[in-house]
Symmetry: C2
Subunit: 982 residues, 2 copies
């Protein structure tokens, strides 16, 4: 044998037993193998992993290795996980749900299912902070915005929010802010979905908004109410299926200066006069029926559209058209100054991760069907609903709503004693209907309904009525629509070319691949975004997601139908508690920021339960992520900043001072650990003690949990509650900007307050209410984190943490001497990420962080997190999934850039026209004619600064974005026929 192979054979750990599975996951998940880890350890001067870990992590917060271990979490191999998921999936019963209430049986076009939802090129990229390597999904998100604007007839729409209920809450808060926080009454029509109402109630509390529920068409005459009104919330069509003409009401509300917020349904809007035409100010809803599976509640994209005057106050990501430095049209995140990462406690929304992948699926669905296809779908759904109404009425049932699109509320009392009789008949047929009350049932039809489904559905009623079965041939289409004529849509929709040409599968496939080809994802290279933990999103963990037994489940299905889901949820909750050291868990929050808000609200409820409801001060270090202060404000807290020392450590004296000063009002302290500066501070336990001593609770922002698992945990650090970003630490792919899951784990004393849900029992017995539309939030993707934990097992989880620390420290070592590491601990170690400061290069050569970031793109890398938490810095996080080779390549690139910088500092290259300032260099720039290549360096230097790039390179597709131009000329929809022609 060759020396190399002999060594490989000898050193490869043999399987532990004859029967041991060989498709074990840790070796696939963790990048460096044993040799590489040893190499890195010895480079850093350690002779064992333990010695290294001891230097990085303070001993006083270490937990016993038995907490997260082989024994406490046994590992499944990849195929064992597959079989386990199949088994649990079989415990979910495949009922057909007509429950509606915002959730439908979506039909995902196979070309989108396979090539977007199941394609890592789409699901692994990050939020498009780097537009030059993200034009694909940016274009698609603009399509999403255009689709929403067109169907709602609103001036502007964002690129998705978390779900309909939280979108409604954002709308309510916008109304409240719009009225200067002076008018405090928000009126909710009783046609609004109950889950939306519950989230509104929770959210109203934080802001001190006075929520009134009633019949909007009658209640709003009350003058007292009108004088304090900041907004109203309507559902169109409403929960019972009725379609009301809200035009007059809207006029009357506008007369008070309040806003009209309207939840609606995109498919219905192909037939209904859109809210933008009758005056709504804010229009929102769930876009999942455009080809996104129900997934037991999510994820899916909520849409959110406003009138022009409100656009600069709109929450969420907004994509705008701008241009690059060559003048080419280019897309990018617009108006970022609205967002929490800039405005912090002045932001009115904490939204960060949204639902990019699902928004893109919905947009592509509209692209594939186009206006004509959508119209056919809507007409069919409506026609089948009409036929159903006619048929059940012939059986003696009474349909309560005369006007409808796809939803009927049926009074069954003329035929049966109790609606239970109908529900029993439906259960026998494998069908779920909406439970309204003893006399009424509800149902909503959707695109998935074929003749067999329809017949089964109508015969639930026939059987309940003891009548003869009905067949399709008994039915003839209605002559006219069941939509009020005044509310019939006459305006056009989706006229833009993009919605009118990709209708063959071949064209669609090419469009999908074309878009994907512009975006850098984990399929191309490391994405070392600090604080974002872009690790492997394994195929094994993704596969079960799109199985119908998981993707097809309605979130309000009876719990005896969802035993598989509940089992997975329970196991995941237990494992997360084990990992965090806490007592109880809620999977309901749909993002990290939503977790923060939920956790802080739990803390407030806890104080209140002890008669300390006026504790409303939240201490937050200046280095905190923008979501922290924004979430605190949403939870009704006042933010008081805490200083940090120049060595990066929390200023414990300042903390003590502030805690003392606010002693009687101290509610909470929010801290990220290891810190956003990338070090494990020794002072953590002391800091927590200070807070507890002053009556406060500690919220631990778990974004950096990847540095903790198995070595320490939030409870041991002194926290009372924390959120996790399952889309970071627990390997849910970031989807190009979402979905996410931000569960919270809490200590025993906080457990009673965990979020509940109006329709499905969950949460504590003194729950804060709902924080998301669905009982378990984005339940389907919890499967991914469940699989991740189960396949790594405790041992693999702890090993991952160690390698994450090792990779970061090795990188810090290699970059030292070239770049200045901003912070490290007393033993010279960073945590799982490192912060390098580039300030010196601004002084020496006029180079900003952005110049380094854009130049890294030329090397085929996604830049690290830029200018956060310190504006002159880059925060670099390699994660455990990157091999030594990739880590070294990244370091080589950084070092080579440092050499390029030296040329600028020494004047060998000019300050204004150099490889950094002109970066990135897309193809179209390289391929210009000689006369246009006015650069003092060669094309080769521009494009291939490192040798490996000749073999493998990801190319940016535009040159540097012009941000200012875009914000000045805000255009957020896709080009029209006319624009394209010109």
């Amino acid at each position: 044998l060759s020396r190399r192979l002999t060594r490989a054979f000898a050193s490869a750990k043999p399987p532990p037993s004859l029967f041991a599975a060989l498709d074990t996951f840790p070796e696939r998940h963790i990048g460096p193998d044993g040799h590489e880890a040893s190499h890195m350890l010895s480079t850093l001067g350690y002779d064992s992993m333990e010695a290294f870990v001891d230097a990085a992590v303070p001993s006083k917060i270490r937990v016993s290795p038995t907490v997260v271990s082989k024994e406490s979490i046994p590992a499944f191999s990849e195929s064992e996980l597959y079989h386990r998921a199949k088994q649990l999936g079989s415990y979910n019963k495949p009922f057909k749900s007509y429950i509606g209430m915002g959730y439908h049986n979506a039909v995902v076009p196979p070309v989108i299912l396979r090539n977007v939802m199941e394609n890592p090129a789409w699901y692994t990229p990050y939020t498009p902070y780097q537009p030059e390597i993200a034009q694909g999904r940016l274009e698609s998100l603009v399509n999403y915005q255009s689709m929403v604007m067109s169907l709602t007839f609103m001036d502007i729409a964002n690129a998705s929010l978390l779900d309909e209920a939280t979108a409604a809450a954002e709308g309510m808060v916008m109304a409240y802010m719009h009225c200067g926080q002076k008018k405090k009454t928000f009126f909710v029509d009783n046609g609004v979905f109950p889950q939306t109402l519950s989230v509104l109630q929770t959210r109203a509390k934080g802001f001190g908004i006075h929520l009134i529920v009633g019949n909007a068409s009658t209640a709003l005459d009350d003058e007292i109410l009108r004088s304090d009104l900041c907004g109203i919330m309507l559902q169109y069509p409403d929960v019972n299926g009725s379609i009301n003409d809200y035009g007059p009401l809207t006029k009357s509300v506008h007369a008070t200066g309040a806003l009209v917020v309207c939840a609606t349904d995109l498919l219905a809007l192909t037939m209904l006069k859109p809210p933008g035409e009758w005056g709504a100010d804010i229009v929102l809803g769930n876009s999942a029926r455009f080809g996104v599976p129900a997934g037991y509640g999510g994820p899916h994209g909520a849409f959110f559209a406003v009138s022009d005057k409100l656009k600069r106050k709109m929450p969420g990501r907004l994509i705008g058209r701008s241009r690059d430095t060559t003048g080419k049209t280019a897309y990018r995140l617009a108006l970022q100054t609205r967002e929490q990462h800039i405005r912090r406690e002045k932001a009115t929304s904490n939204i960060c991760t949204s639902q990019a992948l699902l928004a893109n699926m919905a947009a592509l669905y509209a692209v594939y069907h186009g206006p004509v296809g959508l119209r056919h779908i809507a007409h069919k759904v409506h026609g089948l609903t009409q036929a159903l109404k006619y048929s059940v009425e012939r059986l003696g049932f009474k349909v309560v709503n005369n006007d409808f699109f796809d939803t009927l509320t049926i009074d069954v009392s003329g035929v049966v004693q109790n609606s239970d009789i109908v529900h029993r008949a439906s259960a026998a047929a494998g069908i779920n209907l909406r439970r309204v009350d003893d006399k009424h049932i509800g149902l909503s039809l959707d695109e998935s309904v074929g003749p067999v489904d329809w017949t089964a559905l109508v015969n639930v009623f026939a059987s309940a009525a003891s009548a003869d079965p009905i067949s399709v041939s008994d039915v003839s289409p209605a002559e006219t629509h069941s939509i009020p004529s005044a509310l019939w849509r006459t305006s056009e929709y989706l006229p833009q070319p993009v919605f009118n040409k990709h209708h063959s599968e071949t064209e669609m496939l090419r469009y999908i691949f074309h878009l994907a080809s512009k975006d850098l994802g984990l399929v191309h290279a490391m994405i070392p975004l600090g604080s974002c933990t872009m690790k492997l999103n394994s195929t094994s963990s993704m596969i079960p997601l799109t199985w119908p037994e998981f993707s097809g489940v309605h979130p309000f299905a009876p719990i005896d139908q969802v035993k598989g889901y509940l089992h997975i949820i329970k196991e995941l909750e237990e494992d997360l508690c084990r990992i965090t050291g806490f007592h109880a868990c809620s999977l309901q929050p749909n993002s990290g920021a939503a977790g923060e808000y939920a956790g802080l609200t739990v803390i407030r409820a806890y104080h209140e339960s002890r008669g300390e409801g006026d504790r409303d001060i939240c201490l937050i270090p200046l280095s905190a992520h923008g979501t922290n202060p924004a979430s605190a404000v949403m939870a009704g807290l006042k933010v008081v900043p805490v200083k940090t020392h120049t060595d990066g450590n929390l200023d414990l004296d300042d903390l003590k001072l502030k805690a003392k000063q606010h002693k009687d009002k101290l509610a909470a302290f929010m801290i990220t650990y290891p810190s956003t500066f990338g070090v494990f501070e020794e002072g953590i336990t002391e800091a927590c003690q200070i807070i507890h001593d002053h009556g406060g609770q500690v919220y631990l922002d778990g974004a950096n949990l990847n540095a903790q698992i198995g070595l320490t945990n939030p409870a041991t650090c002194g926290g009372d509650v924390c959120h996790m970003n399952l889309h970071k630490t627990f390997a849910i792919p970031h989807g190009g900007g979402g979905p996410g899951v931000g569960p919270i784990c809490a200590a025993q004393h906080l457990a009673p307050f965990l979020p509940s849900h109006p329709l499905v029992a969950t949460g504590g017995d003194q729950a804060i209410g709902a924080v998301s539309a669905a009982p378990f939030g984005s339940a389907s993707i919890c499967l991914i984190s469940w699989a991740y934990i189960k396949m790594l097992g405790g041992q693999g989880l702890a090993d991952s943490t160690k390698i994450a620390l090792l990779n970061a420290n090795y990188m810090a070592h290699r970059l030292s001497g070239h770049y200045s590491l901003r912070f490290k601990n007393g033993k010279g170690r960073v945590a799982h990420e490192l912060l390098i400061d580039l300030a010196e290069f601004d002084k020496a050569a006029g180079l900003k962080v952005t110049d380094f970031a854009k130049r890294l793109q030329d090397y085929g890398f996604h830049p690290p997190t830029c200018s956060w938490p310190i504006s002159t810095c880059m925060l670099i996080e390699p994660t455990e999934s990157e091999t030594l080779e990739e880590v070294d390549k990244f370091c080589d690139a950084m070092i080579q850039i440092r050499r390029e910088v030296e040329d600028i500092i020494t004047g060998r290259q000019p300050k204004e026209n150099n490889v950094l300032k002109n970066a990135p260099h897309p193809l179209s720039v390289i391929a210009v004619s000689d006369k246009d290549w006015n650069r003092p360096y060669s094309r080769h230097t521009a494009a291939y600064p490192a040798p490996w790039l000749l073999e493998r390179k990801f190319w940016p597709t535009i040159s540097r974005i012009d941000d200012a131009y875009g914000d000045l000329n805000l255009i957020c929809d896709c080009p029209s026929v006319e624009e394209l022609a010109s």
Copy 2:
């Protein structure tokens, strides 16, 4: 509404009824919509589709529209098809098969499953005839070759053959040819798989090879036999699991001048002394257990390796390393001069389409596991087999073979009366064992076996023996191996870097995406390869393929377990008969060429059955595809060429002359219809009549069936038997060079002769024997064609044909005036493809067909078929799946190239240094420094000759390949550590 949308709404066909499905397939499959079709028709001067079709297709061969119609083949919508496939899948029973015989339960690494097998970027490209846009799969195929060379220890290996049995047949014929066709005895050891034997028998007949079956270790002493021996065939380990030391035998065979052909198993070779070390000349087998699902028989890649002296006679695709014009390493098809398309009747193999996709999966499996991983897998399989042997022996059973890798033959007679008792116990446990005889059963273990499987398996024996159940804890690993020590492998394998670095999933994912990024597939642009019919491979038809209920089935599973498969097979056969007008169908042939061979062999058998066995003349037009004459020779026929007129039509006088001349010996006439020149000849029926009048049979090459469906058919044209390329006309993706399915349909008088199988009842009652290893060939992918037909329905099929004709004729119209169309019919129409002649440009400007082809790559297009069937021509086939926009873009590109040519003709551009001669222009060439850009045109002209390319362009990754260099310096494996270091 806007004018455009109003028109769209008005003209869109509304759904035919309230209940009609909306996710109908024809609109997605067919590129041009109604408007576009009308536009093309009117451009061509027709006022209806019917008028156009009448001009293109001769009236005398038209069939009634009722033959292939809405009624005769009703259409399923995409979701209906999904449910139907689910239902039929549920009829396949999920037994665990240990039948072995070359088929195992492969474990497909999920990262390969999702990103290769389920990724259209991998499955839609064509055979890599254009290396500049195919470096990804070429590199991967070289990995495959390297893997095979290394594991077998042979000098050279090709890039896959169709299956193990046909590979064995190729080996036999090589041996026969090697001995100058003088020695006619080929000896097959009785340890060879029965399905291989059957295919050898069929194939031997065509060549007049004398096949003897017996015990090789004893029978070969016979001097008479030795004197006529051209080769022997061995199985290592053999069908019963025994491992024999064939070294001495090989010496003895070599002494006669004969060759030793050895079928083997790649996994076993990680532990066994490889055949290359003990002297085998040809080594082959099935590589499916390297991560390719059994799929009820296929597809999978067969490997084929030979010693150096045989390399220039080796069948199949061979990939070699060469360089491009800049000196960069580049891969391409090597030694094409060996192949049928060059050598025609002098070729000894007809192989064309092979198994690229499956070979790539197997290669990537080896890349992912590496030598260490493979070794662990092999040791585990072997260890579990040992444990099984030990356990069943304790129960009183007797294992017949002392040496084994993974296969045991067990004498059960000491414990039970009859082996049926064991088979009944196994059936009760959901397990299949190999049926040997009344006293013996066989079984083979594989990578998929876990403790639960193993326990269930061993307890089949416990239960048959009425003994207590055995559990895993009763078992301890054996102390030593059960492999003869002389046959223990000591040589290394897979030392190359590519097999030793991509072992984390992240690295693997990036490697897979990196390779894919170099290859142009249907996901990027039209692939207008004439005669290849590169149409949409719809996602709906691909999805069921990888469901376990279809992918996990062993080809020799009892037929009551495969009712779903048999149903689909039956429906597909019936539909193919309806479409071709024939009586019976065989799905067994694994490619078009294999279909030709099967069909001609059927014709021979027919003649023989009538006492006309000496009919052995096959008339073939000069314009025929190379596979035709090659197949004819394999079927034992002598090829007599027939002329064509300069107008492209068959020379009927010459045909009559030849038919008459060979009247008594005339066996067959092979004809492609419409002709390879792309026209429906009027003379077809007359030609067939001539053949029939002279006692011959007509073989219709169905490669161009896409022009016929619903309008005419092979039976009506006058044929007796035809093959179809399901991987062309019926939408099986080409997989970058395979898989394929080449079923034959035959008239009633030929039906009795259709291929049979030794283990599963199929075919006619006077069958020619087997032509493939599995009873229904590559059964799993027949699902795709079944779905294609069922989703289009008869109407959609006929409409597809019409649009395919229309697209081609529209293209001919647009190109006329710029290029000379070589052939058209009397009414000025071509069929579904068009042949343009570029000879004039060679004269005028020294430009060859290749120059045009390479320049088309710069425009982002895959070139059409080049220099076939006429060396100065391009054969262009757009198919029905391309939209008018794409067709127009292609025409624009061709017209623009024509302008570029004009510049060369007129001397504005030099003859030797111009955009065509230098094409293609990859990135690395564009990005060179100014001093190296020694071209009389700009980079922009090179890279962006058409405006749409700035927005969307597929880039070649190398400059023009240097073919001669590669054939001179034949290197067919991947770079070693040393090479990469230098």
